[in-house]
């Protein structure tokens, strides 16, 4: 498979840590996403690494026994160590205060740090979940709900396993994801992911079902509001987007994968070690291994590695992704426009229901895509430049398809990329066939490229001409190139020759040091004076005295135009 066949990729800097062994204990704090490697109970050292941290934190602790759990508080201020099953040690005389207590029989729990919600599994079947919400020093109980377990053969004891539950924030809402291995309805095979929506207030409701159409071992991740389901047997992953339309049966929406299943791109782990050993070649990272442990939202821990996912797609896949993005974007733009028109028409007062459309997380406008995606993408050196251009053009194509006006900075990005890679023939074609829309900033960019690609000057002039609002710019460009006659002819062609400043043109003509040209321009304005005022003389307001003197000096007094009488 070539590199264009993957659309999921593990991020580039994995957090590496020493494998767990009798001496080394490894703990993972999913709240801060830190890996703790504790050696000898902390006596010989604790190394803490996180995906964002540049330098690992190292320290020593007194060995007071086996460490059961170790975590930092936010910003690594307070370290909490649990050595026994019941005591937690905090350094430096800090005290804990019991704020609240509840008495519940709990099978297992799951905590979601992003939403500060804890889910407790209760009852024998373990499928009644009681959520609590932590906020500002208080703990509020949310309505409990039941996970529907699949119908099971009588011999097996079915209960809700902790492994089949995940919590994640998707599009700003908290969902509980249940990986159900068999469908409730008898006629469909294959596993499903059931999404229960857990609102801040109100009951939890089953909202979405993601159909996987296969069985086996799965792992779940949520990345960028997309639900990624990894299938171990086929070593592939599928992506779901609950914002897209699915089949609504009255209560629940059924979703199918956005894209065909693909594997995560194989990843090579560079070996970091003592200098003597750096000649070792990178080791391929085993994907979809059984030693994977998945943490939400987007972290997979392999036995000796911690990696996280991000997206990269092949061109047709990218195109599809762009289309879906722009579909949402267009909907938002249209809604905005209707709202604005209605507001201007004064309807908002009469219709209190008319609300400003909310820009959800699904709406990615061009500025976002440009800033966060395309700019960085274009800088990637290992990317073949034709692919880069193709991706940019796909985005523009997609915008055009949805009739969204393309912002000029996108065209500029295309041009700059083309120039960077010396693809001038492509640039010329894009402009010739109006693939890139005309705009003044673009014309100015083309002017600046003249030293790299001389025809860019004419391409720029042509573009300015097509933009019928750019006449002043055209004149300035021509004058700057000492094409005084061309500038004058142009301005005359659009009927503006009576309004231009004689001084400006005479200055430009004088600069060329071409006396014949100066004569021509001077005579032109003398004739204009004659036509407008009945005398060939310049008015004092035109500030041309210097030029009159120069003319007399070069051509003689008698060369001045004599007033014609009619």
């Amino acid at each position: 498979m070539g590199e264009e066949d993957y659309y999921l990729e593990l991020c580039e800097r994995p957090v590496q840590f020493e494998k767990a062994n009798p001496v080394n204990c490894v703990f993972f704090d999913e709240a801060n996403k830190q890996v703790f490697a504790v050696r000898s109970g902390g006596a010989t050292g604790v190394v803490v690494k996180g995906p964002e941290d540049r330098n690992p934190i190292s320290f020593r602790m007194d060995d007071k026994g086996e460490v059961k759990c170790i975590k930092f508080s936010l910003e690594n201020k307070i370290l909490a160590v649990q050595r026994t099953s019941k005591t937690v040690v905090l350094p430096e005389k800090r005290t804990l205060k019991l704020l609240k207590s509840h008495n519940i029989n709990v099978n297992w729990y799951m905590y979601c740090p992003e939403s500060a919600v804890i889910l407790l599994s209760t009852t024998v079947l373990e499928n009644v979940l009681q959520p609590f919400y932590f906020r500002a020093g208080t703990m509020s109980k949310l309505p409990k709900f039941e996970i529907e377990l699949p119908a099971a053969p009588k011999s097996t004891k079915l209960s809700l396993s902790e492994r089949d539950i995940a919590m994640a924030t998707i599009y700003g809402q908290l969902y509980v994801l249940f990986l159900r291995h068999h469908s409730r309805t008898s006629n469909s095979t294959g596993a499903e992911v059931v999404l229960y929506h857990l609102p801040r207030e109100g009951a939890c409701k089953k909202m979405h079902i993601l159909k996987l159409n296969r069985t086996g071992k799965f792992a779940l991740n949520v990345v960028d509001n997309l639900v990624v389901v990894h299938h171990q047997d086929t070593e592939t992953s599928v992506i779901f987007d609950i914002k897209l339309r699915g089949e609504f049966d009255g209560t629940v929406t059924f979703h199918h994968p956005v894209l065909p299943a693909r594997s995560i791109q194989p990843y090579q782990i560079p070996i970091a070690g003592p200098a003597a050993v750096t000649s070792q070649s990178p080791v391929p990272c085993k994907l979809y291994s059984s030693s994977w442990i998945v943490f939400q939202p987007d972290i997979i821990i392999s036995a000796s590695q911690v990696l996280s996912e991000s997206d990269r797609a092949a061109l047709p896949v990218i195109a599809t992704v762009f289309d879906k993005l722009n579909h949402e974007y267009k909907k938002y733009l249209d809604a905005e426009q209707s709202y604005t028109m209605a507001a201007e028409a004064g309807q908002s007062r009469s219709n209190p229901l008319l609300k400003r459309p909310v820009r959800t997380q699904a709406v990615l406008d061009q500025s976002d895509v440009y800033t966060h995606v395309l700019s960085a993408f274009v800088e990637k050196k290992e990317m073949p430049h034709k692919f880069v251009i193709a991706v940019l053009m796909e985005y523009i194509r997609s915008l055009n398809q949805f009739q969204i006006a393309v912002q000029h900075y996108l065209h500029e990005l295309v041009i700059k990329t083309l120039v960077q890679h010396n693809l001038f023939y492509m640039l010329h074609q894009f402009l010739q066939y109006h693939v890139l829309s005309d705009s003044k900033p673009l014309a100015c960019l083309l002017l600046s490229l003249e030293s790299f690609y001389p025809p860019a000057h004419q391409l720029s002039l042509d573009m300015l001409k097509r933009l019928s609002t750019a006449n002043d710019e055209i004149v300035e460009v021509l004058l700057s190139k000492h094409q005084v006659l061309a500038a004058l002819r142009f301005i005359r062609g659009i009927g503006g020759h009576d309004n231009i400043s004689a001084r400006k043109f005479l200055d430009a003509a004088k600069q060329t040091e071409d006396n014949m040209l100066f004569y021509t321009i001077f005579r032109f304005f003398e004739q204009r004076n004659q036509r407008l005022r009945g005398s060939p003389n310049f008015t004092p307001g035109e500030h041309c005295e210097e030029h009159v003197a120069f003319f007399k000096q070069v051509f003689g007094d008698q060369a001045l135009m004599r007033p014609t009488t009619f």
């Binding site: 006659l485 004058l488 006396n515 004739q527 008698q558 135009m561 014609t564």
Partner: protein
């Protein structure tokens, strides 16, 4: 002999070489200018004519028959400046050679006719041609009816005479010298009486057939002078001469601004609808070359442009009737019809519509000023009957030295 293949000239990277064989003389032109081979040949012919006018063709032939490697320069001493001026005029004032016509001093028709009549009256024995000129331009000429009846006075010959009298030798006072009119009769010559009138650039040229007629010619001249004073012609010609402020001696001309067509910088106009009996004198008119063509380089450039236009119009393979050429420094319009041949130089900013307007105005102006700009009816006179027996045969010329 110049072989046929060399007739069209030889082109090198920078130069054009043209060969012309005339009798024992081989003339070569080497040029870097854009003139066509035909135009260069025309210049060589003019040079040859200049030589012939000094020596006659017959004597040249005789000299070289006698001595094949004779150095002709010994006989041409004194004419070098005339030859130089001839070649300079190609660059500075190309109209005459290019158009094969003569330029007149603009003068009111009544005055010119009066002067013509005056010349007709003032005759001398053997007088064949009287020419009155100012600054190298023709005021009027009178031809002896019998002498020149059958043969036209070729404008090239007339131009040659006008140029000839501009030589320093004739700058003041009076002079008596032989001259041959190559196109009229290359083997014979006239005796020319040349005088400056009233310490002015006005020049009177009297061509006669009689060697001893100097005093008669001088008497004739005094008659002309008196007559001119009576007519007030001196003043009129003086005004014409000082019309332009150009410092050159080639003064009498008018300014292009007189046409009143803005955008027009210069032109050459040659009428072609001359009535048959007026064919003796093809003429052209053109204004003084003014700014922006005040400098020699610009004049030369303009002359080259006119040469190019002329060559295109009269190309043997693909002649044209109209050329409109917009360039950086000027716009050119050249036009030949059955009535006229016109070359105009316009501002480069002129539009096509503007150019048409200018040309229309110009043509109208020329039509209006026709009588002033051209000699419409060259006068003829008849000499009194010959008295002495050494009258030559009826064409009045001696041959041989």
């Amino acid at each position: 002999m110049v072989s046929g293949r060399l007739r069209d000239g030889v082109n090198t990277e920078d130069h054009k070489l043209v060969f012309l064989q005339q009798g024992p003389l081989l003339l070569v032109a080497v040029s870097r200018t854009p003139q066509s081979a035909a135009q260069l040949r025309g210049e060589l012919l003019a040079v040859h004519a200049q030589i012939v006018s000094t020596l006659t063709r017959a004597s040249v032939a005789r000299i070289f028959a006698h001595k094949q490697n004779y150095d002709l320069r010994r006989l041409l001493a004194g004419s070098e400046r005339t030859l130089d001026r001839l070649l300079d005029s190609v660059e500075q004032d190309p109209g005459a050679l290019l158009l094969g016509a003569v330029r007149c001093v603009p003068l009111a028709r009544p005055m010119r006719e009066a002067l013509g009549a005056l010349l007709r009256r003032c005759t001398a024995p053997g007088l064949a041609l009287s020419v009155l000129s100012v600054g190298g331009r023709l005021v009027t000429a009178a031809q002896e009816r019998n002498v020149l009846a059958e043969c036209r006075l070729d404008p090239a010959d007339l131009q040659l005479l006008l140029d000839w009298v501009g030589a320093p030798a004739f700058a003041a006072g009076e002079a008596w010298a032989p001259v041959c009119l190559p196109r009229f009769n290359p083997d014979g010559f006239f005796y020319a009486y040349v005088a400056r009138l009233d310490a002015m650039p006005v020049c009177l040229l009297l061509l006669g057939t009689q060697r001893e007629a100097f005093h008669a010619m001088a008497a004739c001249r005094r008659l002309v002078e008196d007559g001119m004073r009576a007519l007030g012609a001196m003043r009129a010609l003086g005004e014409a001469a000082s019309f332009s402020n150009a410092p050159s001696a080639n003064a009498p001309a008018y300014s292009v601004q007189a046409v009143g067509a803005p955008g027009l910088r210069h032109f050459l106009y040659k009428p072609l609808d001359i009535p048959d009996h007026h064919r003796q004198l093809p003429q052209f008119t053109s204004p003084e070359l003014e700014a922006p063509y005040s400098r020699e380089e610009e004049r030369q450039r303009l002359s080259d442009l006119y040469h190019r236009l002329h060559a295109r119009l009269h190309s043997t393979s693909r002649p044209l009737r109209l050329i409109y050429h917009v360039a950086e420094k000027e716009t050119l319009l050249a036009w030949v019809t059955s009535k006229f041949e016109l070359y105009t130089c316009l501002s480069p900013l002129v539009t096509k519509a503007g150019a048409i307007l200018v040309v229309t105005k110009l043509l109208r102006w020329v039509r209006k000023e026709e009588d002033r700009l051209f000699i419409r009816y060259p006068p003829k006179y008849s000499t009194p009957p010959a008295t002495s027996t050494d009258q030559a045969p009826h064409n009045g010329l001696f041959t041989g030295l």
